[in-house]
Amino acid sequence: MSTLTLIQAVNDGLKTAMRGDERVLVLGEDVGPKGGVFLATEGLTSEFGPERCFDTPLSEDGIIGTAIGMAVNGLRPVAEIQFQDFIFPAFDQIVSEAAKLRYRSGGQYTAPMVIRTPYGGGIRGGLYHSQSGEAYFAHTPGLKVVIPSTPHDAKGLLLASIADPDPVLFLEPKALYRSVKGEVPEGDYRVDLSTLRTVRPGKDVTVFCYGAMVPVCERAAQQAAEQGIDCLVVDLRTLTPLDEEGVLEAAKATGRVVTVHEAPRFCGYGAEISALIAENVIEYMEAPIRRVTGFDTPFPNTLEHHYMPDERRVLDAIESVARF
């Protein structure tokens, strides 16, 4: 065990995977000598050589397209997209190709690969260095979408994603890269994809969240506790395939639900949580299902702290459903 930040845990996870399996390699913009703009890939080129960790030309389509070809031909690429906001030139490769290859080839060809990319706000990055695009990908059958919120999970989920036979989009909450620290086991371990994490048990209100919203919701839950509202906080971790049973259980447990994410509300991931509940366990609901999300606008810069859900907003929603 050592105490690592989330970004160090990612780095440790990459090294562990590359040491354990020579098919694993890392490619992306500035991932080589520079070690990535967030230093997630620091030390990889020197340890594993420039054939297993290297910079590419400036083309996300090329990064993902070639990574698919590598995966098809026996490698286990981990592709970095420098910011999730820049993944869209590769949208076609991800959505039309990686996600659909197993299906369209009747299982003959597959693309076991991981796309790592930092997402979310908190660094004053404005429209194009702050977005949370999980809903675009979660709507795409054939992809897995994973978001860690602790250093332990960052490494364990990353190792599970690299070992997974299907393409995984691994979204890293950049706001937590250096702001959270935690115990991380040495060597290889895996956190199952498709299990939820109960961050905090509670009986009055269920809060669903993931990524950088997890500590926000934890703090809001602490403040709610001071008012006597006992919150069950659930970190979804694997957004798809989702542990739907687990979500429904957690919703039923309190009958009052708040969902929190940074992305815009309309057709956001939170809508699916509401819809699942409304479709399956609506009769247990004792209050409206509230969503606390980014606004339905592009991501602003100077006012980003107003855009991103914070404790105030989460607490307000918790109070409103608790008192309904």
Binding site: T66, P77, D166
Partner: protein
């Protein structure tokens, strides 16, 4: 485009002759096999067109006119190489030994289709006897994929190559740019085969780009570019062989532009008379690649009427039988909608599948639509 015919690499002359000491690099058996493959393409193609007109399959893509490019390229590679074909590459599969019946299962989308009836016709996918990569409809996406596969060969120190085939229209796609660029930088063992067949649906190839042909685009990526007569099987074989040799030796990628012509519509849904000039079509009909190769074989004493009859009989029977088998194969089972999304069926898909079966039991089967494919 101002490139003249004189710049084209051509081997087989109009009368079937070749330059004096020309070495084809192919044995007599291989030459005959190549010829048979071309006939096979034509039989398969004609049959599919007829099946479509008769409403027995939904869609096909004419391959007439471009057989020499497909077969010439395939004949230059090894079974251990990785093929990233386009939807208009019947000849690659057929030359390399894919049984026509396997292709027919795809045309009918039946239970024995290797893609389980999930894809449209002509979207083949095979792993045996060769790695014939699952074809995708979006144009150009397979280009960087072929480069990634080539990178894997190189990393493992294997001397295999990737061949990726695409059209003149495909050069405008994003995948062309990223694939070519990455291959150049990585010196990846990949052969880019641009089949310039004159058209991208209704758009003539000289409206696709203002460049002087397509081979010239290679310079933008630091690799050699070669223009070859795509109706000349031996010329195509030669340039692809050379490109493969360079790739295997670690000298990197090559772009080949094969000049040929689509002697039909874009697909069974297309009416080319609306936009193809009749004189142009007639001009190209004279350059028929099958006849040209036949003249060559005849001149070499490798062809006679008896051979022709035997081969024609063989390939038609093969294709006819294949169609019969496929047509009599049942459709894929309902469960194939839900499998192969992930390696393991996740619970939510299990539930959706169960609900579909349950509904079919309670309310009967869904009726098939009668959609006509427009493209």
């Amino acid at each position: 485009m101002t490139m003249t015919e004189a710049d084209l690499l051509t081997v087989i002359e109009a009368d079937g002759g070749t330059p004096p000491d020309f070495d084809t690099g192919l044995s007599d058996a291989e030459l005959r096999r190549a010829y048979r493959a071309m006939l096979s393409v034509r039989a398969f193609d004609d049959t599919c067109m007829k099946l479509q007109r008769a409403g027995r399959i939904g869609f096909s893509i004419p391959n007439r006119g471009i057989e020499a490019t497909q077969v010439g390229a395939a004949s230059a590679l090894r079974p251990t190489d990785f093929f990233f074909p386009s939807y208009r590459d019947f000849g690659m599969a057929l030359y390399l030994g894919v049984p026509p019946v396997e292709m027919m299962h795809n045309m009918f989308g039946d239970a024995l289709d290797s893609a389980k009836g999930r894809q449209m016709p002509v979207h083949f996918s095979f792993t045996e006897p060769i790695k014939y990569f699952s074809i995708s409809s979006p144009i150009g996406t397979h280009i960087p994929q072929a480069v990634g596969a080539a990178y894997a060969f190189k990393l493992r120190g294997e001397d295999h190559v990737s061949l990726v085939s695409f059209g003149d229209g495909g050069t405008s796609s994003l995948g062309f740019h990223s694939g070519m660029n990455f291959a150049g930088v990585w010196k990846a063992p990949v052969i880019f085969l641009c089949q310039n067949n004159g058209w991208a649906i209704s758009c003539p190839s000289d409206h696709q780009t203002a460049s002087d042909g397509f081979a010239i685009k290679a310079a933008a990526y630091g690799m050699p570019g070669i223009t070859v007569d795509g109706n000349d099987l031996l010329a195509v074989h030669q340039v692809v062989s050379e490109a493969a040799e360079r790739a295997r030796k670690g000298e990197g990628p090559t772009l080949i532009e094969a000049r040929t012509y689509r002697m039909g519509g874009h697909s069974t849904s297309d009416d080319p008379t609306k936009y193809v000039p009749a004189e142009e079509l007639a001009k190209w009909a004279e350059k028929d690649p099958v006849e040209r190769f036949r003249r060559y074989l005849a001149k070499r004493g490798l062809w006679d009427e008896a051979l022709e009859e035997r081969l024609q009989a063989e390939v038609s029977a093969e294709v006819r039988d294949a169609a019969k088998v496929a047509e009599n194969t049942p459709g894929p089972g309902l469960e194939t909608i839900f499998s192969d999304v992930y390696a393991q069926l996740p619970p939510h898909l299990r539930r959706q599948g169960e609900a579909a079966f349950d509904l079919a039991k309670r309310k009967g089967e869904a009726g098939a639509g009668d959609g006509a494919f427009p493209l």
